[in-house]
């Protein structure tokens, strides 16, 4: 009977790579546009799908959940919290924080986007 020992580099999630992915995806798609109600659906879908493709290309044995919130800047506040029941040694989320200060991507002056990646070991 053989035991499956995944290689250590496959199992550790690299925070810097994730940071780059998040930055690229948000700024690439929303960098120069004004908020457009008709297109926001398409933007959210594209951001999330692109970040998922980049994550899969990292080649690690993880399941991913990516959430993106795009909001028009009107002075309104938004709070997000998450509570997770998982294996703390192998799973996590990025950005790693317990306050509501999530990576805020600015695009022109009209909208902001927040991207959150959760990874779970298989």
């Amino acid at each position: 009977m053989e035991e499956f020992h995944p290689h250590s580099d496959e199992m550790i999630f690299n925070a810097e790579e994730a940071h780059n992915i998040v930055k690229e995806c948000i700024e690439g798609i929303l960098g120069k546009v004004d908020y457009n109600h008709n297109k926001v659906n398409q933007w959210t879908a594209t951001i999330v799908e692109q970040s998922l493709t980049h994550l899969v290309k990292l080649g690690k044995t993880y399941k991913y959940i990516v959430t993106c919130a795009v909001m028009q800047k009107c002075g309104a506040g938004l709070h997000t919290a998450s509570s997770c029941f998982w294996d703390t040694t192998t799973d996590g989320k990025f950005p790693h924080s317990d306050s509501s200060k999530i990576k805020d991507g600015e695009c022109a002056t009209c909208c902001s986007a927040v991207l959150q990646i959760i990874f779970l070991a298989v």
Partner: protein, 175 residues
């Protein structure tokens, strides 16, 4: 004599299905010490045929289970979300400090209630967004890479005069 002691120790290890992280040599040494004190009087089970080679302690054993025994009840969880959000937020007005605490509390409450359903081998992720209603538009989307046969999600959006709230629960099967 010491060989028999070692065999018995190894069988004790297997019998208990040990999940220890000690290497097998260390554990066997401990067992042997204990055995020597009690001499041979603690034997209480029959020899198993075919298991003459002592194996290394395994940490996780095969369950030979291909999918979840009990599936995640999406409808029940939808009702839980509706319940929790309505109870906590029906009368509230949007205030920065209150909503900051409220998001954390609500996500903990939802996680506790979903855990009470006792669905085995599922990892649970709860995400709650609470925002102010201010004539602005917003879109929240999520995509997942998982096994659609066993993993699923549940979602509920709540709105009152001054705020909106969105709760998402993702359930991922752990093989």
């Amino acid at each position: 004599m010491s060989d028999i002691a070692k065999d018995k120790a190894a069988r004790l290890l297997k019998k208990r299905g040990s999940v220890s992280s000690l290497s097998s040599h260390e554990v066997r040494a401990k067992e042997i010490l204990g055995k020597n004190k009690d001499s041979m009087s603690t034997v209480s089970y029959m020899d198993e045929p075919g298991h003459d080679i002592p194996r290394l302690a395994v940490q996780l054993e095969n369950t030979y289970q291909l999918g979840p025994a009990k599936r995640f009840p999406v409808v029940t969880v939808n009702n839980i979300l509706k319940d929790v959000l309505t109870n906590y937020l029906q009368e509230e007005k949007y205030e920065a400090e209150l909503c900051r605490q409220m998001t954390k509390t609500i996500s903990e409450v939802i996680k506790a209630r979903v855990k009470d359903l006792m669905i085995p081998r599922y990892k649970i992720i709860v995400i709650v967004h609470i925002g102010q209603l201010n004539e602005q538009s917003m879109r929240i989307g999520s995509r997942c890479i998982w096994d659609p046969a066993s993993d699923t999600f549940s979602s509920y959006a709540f709105k009152n005069t001054s705020l909106f709230a969105l709760a998402n629960v993702y359930a991922v099967y752990f093989e």
